[in-house]
């Protein structure tokens, strides 16, 4: 099983289907009887392979919840999430973890790097989890950091890097496994405008070079402008899905 994932993923040989993510009537409800929050109210969505999709909308509309449900980080109450023709609700916790390790990369607003590890070690993490031997993992991590322009900073720990640099490390960590899908939750939310642009240029370049699907949640119009399609949400439903000029 592991070998399959490793081989599949590392070759960067993405799925033959055009639709990589699909949801049908996706519902997510939080809380108990007394305090129920209906966060997602029947989302139907299709995302194609290699597409960069921005999810926008006011705070509390369910963007992050949608991202978490799509990536299998959160459970769903009703409906289906199908990734690569695979309904993820059929996977148990361990299978889902393995699936994430091979198929997905994550970028967070607050980077969520492991403060006790160096940049290189942070990037090595997903590879090691996938069972890649340490020597190869170190080499791949180094290459990936070079690709995001941080070759000279590989031995630095997160607290010795700037915000932009930290996010680059997070991007390198998300991409190092060459996953099919990258989930980014407000990837530039903690950055200034020049860093924001740099990061988005980088993500756009990597997206086009590796044909990886990127789903990002953002408030920023600049970030959204890099996407092929903008999905707008409000109060737990998709109110629009519009292709951009890209």
């Amino acid at each position: 099983m592991y070998d399959y994932f490793v081989k599949f993923s590392l070759l960067g040989d993405v799925m033959p289907q055009d639709i990589i993510v699909e949801t049908n009537g996706l519902h997510k409800i939080y809380g108990s009887e007394s305090l129920r929050v209906h966060a997602l109210k029947g989302i139907d969505l299709k995302i194609e392979t290699g597409e960069m999709v921005a999810v926008m909308g006011p705070s509390g509309c369910g963007k992050t919840t949608l991202l978490n449900c799509l990536s299998g980080l959160d459970s769903i109450n009703e409906g289906d999430v199908v990734i690569d023709n695979r309904p993820i609700s059929s996977l148990n916790d361990n299978q889902m973890s393995e699936f994430r390790a091979k198929f997905m990369g994550f970028i967070f607003q607050t980077y969520n790097l492991l403060s006790v590890l160096t940049a290189q070690e942070n990037v090595e993490m997903p590879l090691l989890v996938s069972g890649v031997k340490s020597g190869l993992a170190a080499e791949m991590a180094k290459n990936q950091l070079e690709e995001v322009g941080l070759l000279d900073w590989i031995d630095h720990k997160p607290d010795q890097l700037s915000g932009g640099q930290r996010q680059r490390v997070a991007i390198a960590r998300a991409l190092v496994n060459q996953p099919a899908i990258i989930w980014a939750d407000e990837p530039t939310g903690n950055l200034d405008s020049s860093n924001e642009k740099e990061i988005m240029d980088l993500m756009a370049r990597l997206n086009s070079e590796h044909n990886q699907t990127v789903v990002l949640v953002t408030h920023s119009d600049l970030v959204a402008s890099y996407a092929h399609r903008i999905i707008t949400m409000n109060d737990g439903v998709v109110v629009s899905s519009e292709n951009t000029a890209k």
Binding site: N68, N94, S97, F106, F108, L114, L117
Partner: protein, 1162 residues
Amino acid sequence: MEKLFGIQTDSLAYGSGILASLMFLILIFVAIRAIVMFKIGARNLPRNPNQTVLIILGLMLSTTIIGASLGVGDTVTHSIRKVVFDGLGHTDETIRPTGSRFFGEEFISRDQLDRIKQVIKSKTNNVDGVMSLVEIVLPAENLSNDRAEARMTLRGFNHSETTAFGKLFLLDGTEVNISSLGKNELFLTGSSSSTLSASSGDQLRFYSTEGVHDFVVKGILKDGGLASGGSIKLAILNQSDMQNEFALIDKFNEVLLSNKGGIEGGLKYSEEITKNLRLAFSNAEVSNQMFDLLNSDKILDLIEKKIEINSENRSVSETDRETFGDFLTEIRKGSISDEFINLINDSRKRFLLFSLVKELEDSSLLDQLVFLSLDLGEFQVEESKKSAIEFAELIGSSTTTFLGLFGSFSIIVGILLIFLVMVLLSASRQTEMGMARAIGFKRYHLIQIFTLEGWLYAILSSLVGTLFGVAVSFTLVYLLQNAIGSDDFNISPKYTLTSLVITFSSGMILTLITVIISSYRISKLNIIVAIRGLTEEMVKPPEIIWKDRFKTLLIAIFWPVKVFKDLRKSSISFFKKTFRVIFSILPPIWLWQILKSIFSILSPLLRQGWPIIILGIIATYYGLDLLKGTYFSVGISLVILGIGTLLRYVFSKKIFIVKRINRFAASLEGALLLAFWGAPFDTFEGLTGELEFGVEVFILSGVAMVASSVWLIMNNTQIILWVFNFITGKAFSSLQAVFKTAVAYPINAKFRTGLTVSMFALIIFTLVINTVLSGLDNVGLNQPDRLTGGYDIQARLPKGFDIGDLKKNIEDKGFSDRISIDVVAKSVDVPSLAKDASSEESQFDELGLKIVNDSYFSSNKFEFSHYDPKYGSTPMELWLALKNDSNLAVLSNDVFESGDPFGPPQEGFLIKDFPSDSEADKWVERQILFKPNTTAVEDKVVTRTVIGILDPLAGNYQGGPGRGPYMITSDDVMVDYLGQQIPFDTIYISLKDGDAKEVVPILEKIFIVFGMDAVDTIGQIESEAETGESFNRLFQGFVGLGLLVGVAAIGVLSVRAVVERRKIIGTLRAIGYTSNMIQVQFLLEAIFVTVLGVLIGVGLGILTSWNIFNSISQEVEGLTYVVPWVNIIVLVSITVVFALITAFLPARQAAKIFPAEVLRNE
């Protein structure tokens, strides 16, 4: 217990109680004044009940350990006291004839008895009873059933004198009295009747040197009153009947006194009564003459010099110094006083003074004094009960001190845990506190919040800890009872109110002080660092403005002026002003201000390192001058730390290398300190000479070695990481991510990890030393001949009984088929005094004389630690030399100073000019003069040539003449020395075949008429080893309590790690960690910290026990160093398993964290 660490327990209880109450009251005051801060602090307790319970359990452990050691001490004291009260009953003092009981008894005559009674009547009103006693110890046999007892004590009382000494009751409760006994009738106590299986009407036969004596048992008595004898096998007789039967008419052994106030209450009069009677019985003329001799400037100067506290007098004990002081005061008065007579009549104090006079090298003065002292008094008055009770107190307090000493590691570990808990608490509230500071809270508000919260924890944990302490002490006592397992000594659990107060108060004081210190440290947070979660390294230290600091000191000195000035401007009410003034100028507050400002001036200087080096040099010099090892060691350590600090200071401005220099300095400090403290004990002896070390050095060295190892390792964690990456990269490729994080997190949190590692290391260190060293005791089991001399049985006979030819006796009695004897050797012990013939000194010191027969020389297998090669090089050759030349002798090994800080003070004859660690064949024969230590024989000085010193183990089963050193020589000395041939009282038997265990009861039965008391030597060694093993287990259990603290620390760390890393756990789950991997990571972290601590502890424990072993090996040959790996592996496994169990719940909690939930928070 009355004393602990040399302080009266009552004073300790009052002191700690008052201090704890004061702290309590001050905190109540602070809480009332700052009620908001109190509420902020206090609300945390109910907010997280699980955390509160965990904190209280963690904080209580120090209190529990203190409580347990005090409880065990109380129980031991109480149990021995009980034995004393049971044994002595109403008797408080005894009066005996002066002189020894050698060659038959010395007795008090009827006239003397009357005189004693008159004197007592005229000198004191606090005695409610005076009773004469006739006592003999004889073998007894119950003719009705053949049961026998080798040592039955017969006591004869005169009914008319017994009123104050309690009544006699039969087992059925009927009151009886001695006058009801007819001729040749007696009462037995319960324990004697069960030994002899005797009941009323049975006929008992006693064997004396004069023949047999038959008595009939009239009844069996309940213990208590006149029938008080403790574990003694006692028979009570009518005094006149006994005197007639045993030809002791008008002869009395002792006069017993009962004080007013009952069995326990009479103790308070004992000192006064003894003093008065000693005065009354002393020879005033002799005392006067002695006073005149002592009243000279040279003696006064000598005493004065002796009581000065300086390096020359380092060996003078506190008690001796006190005695010298008393003599000085009394002699200075110029005329003889009652106090002087009392002092000079106390034999211990008198000998102490004589040993001082000896230093004057005026032998005629000393001879006069010694000569006069022989006529000082007719009777010895002894505070029997008081001395025995004092002994009980001493044993009790020694037990507590011993447990406290070894428990101190656990207590230190407990304090570290309190510190850790407080630091983690603050870490969890860092942002909150930063915000509080940002909106205007002052630093002291944070101190108040934490101190008040900690105060509540301290109260609760001290309460719970005290209860647990009592419970643990009773559990240990239960184990102790099983370990001793003797019918003669029953352990009765006891916990005194004094101990309860000390436990609770000291627990609270320790916890509160730690809480206050940690609160102070916590309050020093940087607001930005706290709010943004940065590291402290990023904060630039404030610039030092010396002018301001000195100004603050000046203000602190005139603190009340500042308070008045500030309040004058204030608009608060007069009442509040007055209150604040009174509070602010309280000495502790004022003093605190001064100390704080002095520290603020000193601390930047100390950070420069050089003052620490100077301090270290001073301490080292002081240590070398006074020959105090502790000062020397602390001094050198300070110098090392000073060098490290100086290095850091010098390079602190070089920003690019500052990290490397810091690491280098820390590594240097750690490595040097470890090398210094871990070096063999005599490493520096060549440079420093022999230094004196107290017991405190044991704690100090343990703490220093552990601290320096942890310091060294925590500053070189990269190496550990590298090793781990290397290993995991090769061996566990699928789990390497988990391993990497499991090691990286603890290594990164240096402070908390270092603290927890230290906790485990300290405890394991102590346990490993104990385990390794207890293995050394097995030399007795491995080489029993060194202890037994190769004899299977050793039998003792009462003085005066001559058993004659043992083999022939056995044959005559028809037992030769059951007892097959190979060799019989014999000895008799004679109390003697001795001195080195070459010594200028005229003083003779106590040295027992063991006179042995020829067979002893040719049959024993005892070895020698030192010998004169002129007489041979093997034990056999040396013993043969002794056999062939009756002018030769050997000395026991305790003629050498032991230098053991834990051991009892050494008394008697000592060899001071020959080091005990010299090579075995370096002894050169020397002449020793000795004379009998008794007035019963003529004072005759005899010389023997000592050709060797016995192996230290040889003393154990030699049946030496009591405590202290002795000399072995041939029985040719007997007539010449004692003027007559006396019977041997110890018999050593080697069996041809057969089991000694089975032969012993047969021998005792055959020789009951001689009162033979025999032991199977190997069986004795085995049973002692077993008891020793039980004590070791008990001790290990006690010290092992400290492991609980370490395990609790792991729990606290794990819980905290889960809370701190929720988001990272979510991220790890997002990048593919399964929940099991998260759980494994947390468990691995716990194992890593535990194993690191355990490895340091095992390593240091083995190193230190190796050093101790080497040191002991210089004294005792033939010891082998064995590390009991199985025991250590079991110990380590138990520790790791417990740590795993503790970390399991938090790890499981971490594994259950739902990633979306924690990631959503951002």
